[in-house]
Each structure stands twice: as C-alpha cells, then as structure tokens.
Amino acid sequence: MDEREDWHLTEALHHEQGRGDPFAAAVRATRMSMVITDPNLPDNPIVFANDAFQRLSGYDRSEIIGRNCRFMQGPHTDLDSIAQIREAVGKGTDISIDILNYRKDGTSFWNGLYLSPVRNDDGTIRFFFASQLDVTDRVDVQSRMAREKSRVEAEVTRRVAELRDSLDAQRLLLHEVDHRVKNNMTMIGSILRLQLREAADSDTAEMLRAMMTRIDALATVHRHLYQADDVTRFDIGSYAVNLASDLTQSRADCDIRIRADLGRAEVPAGQAAAIGLIVNEILTHMIRPENAEAGQVFDISSRTTPARVELSIGFGPAEMAVRGADPVYSPSGVNEQIISRLAAQTRTRVAWSRTDQGSIQVTVVIDKENS
C-alpha cells in the first residue's frame, strides 16, 4: 500500500486535525475495522476504509471507496436488519446490530456492526462512522445453542407423547383384561349356582355351596381390586366389611349387625386373593347356624402400623344381650387348612381369643417386610 496515497485519502476527509495527526494514524493502524461514509454525496458512499476493513472484507481500497456499504450484503442477509440500518441512517441515530455480510471471495461472516453519525458544530451530519467486528463465533454458538435447545425440546415433547400413548395403551389393556377376568368370574359363579340347583342330596348341595361361597369371595376380591385408582393395592378392611355384609344379608335366618372402624389397611394386590380367602373362611365359620343365637354383632376394624397391616374381626352378642352360650370358634377340615396354609403362604398370622364378654376376637396380621 502506498503511504502517500494513504495520507491523501485521510486529508480528503476535511477533518480539522492536520496531517500526521496521531488520532488519524491510530484509526488507520487499529485492528478494529472502520469505515467512514459521506451522506452528503449521492448514495452515501464510503470515503474512508482502514486496513483492518480491507482485511476483513477481502476488497482493496480502490474497490471500496466511492461505493455504498450495501455491497457487503448477500443472499442470506436478513432484510429486516438492512431495514433497521437504513432507518438509523435516515433518522441520523446510532445502531448496534449483528448482520450477515459477505467477503469478496463469497464467504459470509457475522458482522457486529456499530454505526453512528458524526456531526459538526452546528449539528449537521457530516459523516457516518462505522466499525465492524467479526462475531461469527459468538453468533454461531448462539444459534447452535438455540437450534440444540429447540431440538431437545422437540425430542422431549416427542418422547412424552410416546410415553403417554404407551401408558394409554397399557391402561386400555389392563381395563380389557380386568373386564374379561370379571366376566369369567361371573360366569364361574353362574355355572356353580346352576349346578347347585341340580344337586340331588344335601351333602352335595352343602359342598357346592361351600365352593360357591369361596368363588364368591374371590369375585368380591376382584371387584375391590380394580375399583381403587391404585390397582397395585388392596384394602382388606373395606373388603372384610363388604364380604360380611354380603354374607349376613343373603341369609334370611340371621340378623347380624356390622360395626366397622376402618383405618387404611392395604396389602399388595398379589396377596389379595389369598388374604381375601382367609377372611372369607373366618367369617363363614363364625356365622355357622350353630352360632346363630350367640352371634349378633360383627366388629370389624383395621389399621396400619409401621411394621404391619392388621385386621381384627370380633363376633359375639350385642352389648345389652343377656349372656347365653358363647359363640364357638374351631375351624377344622378344609376350612382350617385354607386358613393355615394361605396364612403361611402370605406370611400372615391368624390368632383368636375370647373377650371378657364372651365374643370371639380373630386377628389377621400381615407383616409389611414381605409386602
């Protein structure tokens, strides 16, 4: 670059500082790219561009001087950014903006442009001063982050939708299976009842009836299982009361009251059938015809302690009753076997005692560790 020509161009700016002015020298030598345009000439052409601008743009000074800055724009330059710059020039205000510019070789870079008017003493705009900084790296990181963020967001949305769909499908399947199990249970009950009507002798009828009662208890378990929102838990307290009410109301010969004091008493759904059958054996044994006189009230209570789930079933005379014969509790045969074996299977303890009033008190205790 010819040093003299350089000085000539600087002098052409009409600035008050003279030749050899250290400020002008600094502008020429700085690494910051700078241009000055003259809005008083047609199309606001560039009248000064320093070396840094030539390096940044790839154009020679001769290709720069006399042209409007728009030659830096290219196919992907944002039209809105151009409009903002044009507006600032029109209004004579300053502007700081990132704009996509193009070098002489056609490559693009993000230009962190700062543009401001230079006014003389009476306030008229003499020049526009513009500095350029290659901020491609910063803009790239920003836009990459924005792209990454929206990609991750889209992915999360997609997976959530997928999960929701699969959850819906599972819920539908559970519903369908539950519905079929219940229908089959109903059918089994119906078949047994139909068979029971055909029973020729009382022994057969008694056996079928005992079977029927157990199937009914299982049916009640299933009804309770999927009534709650949490299909993995089974409340033995409300089940026991439901079963007791079914058993007592179906019999014309017994008039037994039920008093319930139910705390939360949930066991895992996997244990529901076994524990449900145990409770059924206890209740049906209590309300045998032999106990018709002595048993007038069921006292059913349930609770959960940190270590155990407990169900207590009391059976005996009403408070005001004159004490007669005490109810008898002595399970035997299949009755006893179902209770003891299912208790062992579910690690449940079943114990009974007699109260001072002569009532039977049976407790069913399920340890939580194995639940």
Binding site: H175, D178, H179, K182, N183, M185, T186, M187, G189, S190, I191, R193, L194, R197, M212, T213, D216, A217, A219, T220, H222, R223, Q227, V241, N242, S245, D246, L247, Q249, S250, R251
Partner: protein, 155 residues
C-alpha cells in the same frame, strides 16, 4: 304415586346365556318374575310395548354391537316408570349421572351380593325408602338415592 308391588316383573338384558340363566333363577328364587330375557337392544325393542317391566337389569356390553346405555335410553322412552339397574363388570363406563338410570350392581357379583341387592331394590321400589342398609353390591344413582333421602356415599 302408584308403586309396584311384589312380586316384581323384571326384564333381564344380558348377552351371556349362562349368566342370564343364573340371574333369571336368582330372581325367581327371590320370589319375583322374569318378564323376558333379552340379549341386545334389538331384542328389547321387539318386546311388546304394553307390558312395562317394574325393573330392568341391564348389562353394559350386549349382543349385536349394542350397549346398555342405548338400552337404558330405549327403556326410558318406552317405559318411563321402569327402574333401570346396570349389571356390569365395567362400572367406570357409567356416566356420573347414570344417564337417568337408577343404580348399578357390579360384576362379578356373589350370590349373597346379588340377592341382597335385589332385596334392597325391592324395598326401594315397592315401599321406599329401603329399610335395609345399602349392600356393598349395589350403588344407587345420585338422583335415585336422593329420592330416598340416602346419601350416595352412605354405606
């Protein structure tokens, strides 16, 4: 109001033959009469219009692609005084207001539960309010329970 008297005339709408037969027999054991057994909406529509059942026990999923809800609407139109009780393994499919029906017996029902529900229903229909406590096997619709002055959640 002209209340029905026992024995009640009961329409059974159930597409599973064995269950229908079982229900029929339990109804007769309880001293009531089975007016007819229908397995679909079409069957119900084909019944003589002049014989209104006192009670209809209606399954939810029926033959020929029909549903208990459709049967319920048809019955309410045809016989506005009939008490409709759903008998279903899918009680969650019943709308909150029961679509104007009166109650539900959940499947699988136990013999004891079904008989108790029938007894409670008889009391509620013939001589309301029922004197027995509401059995666990039967849930009255909110409006039906309100007629009896029973709170729906009372057990």
């Amino acid at each position: 109001m002209n209340r029905p008297k026992a024995p009640l005339s009961i329409l059974v709408v159930e597409d599973e033959f064995i269950i229908a037969m079982d229900i029929e027999m339990m109804i007769e054991d309880a001293g009531h009469q089975v007016l007819a057994v229908a397995s679909s909406l079409q069957d119900v529509m084909a019944l003589p219009a002049d014989k209104a059942p006192d009670v209809a026990l209606v399954d939810m999923q029926l033959a020929r692609g029909s549903t208990g809800l459709q049967v319920n609407s048809a019955i309410q139109k045809q016989w506005p005084d009939t008490i409709v009780v759903f008998v279903t393994a899918n009680p969650k499919k019943i709308p909150d207001d029961f679509d104007g029906a009166h109650g539900v017996i959940a499947k699988p029902f136990s013999s004891a539960g079904f008989v108790a529900a029938l007894k409670y229903l008889e009391e509620g229909v013939c001589d309301p309010p029922p004197v027995s406590p509401e059995p666990g096997s039967f849930v009255a619709s909110p409006s039906f329970a309100a007629q009896w002055g029973v709170s729906p959640e009372g057990r």
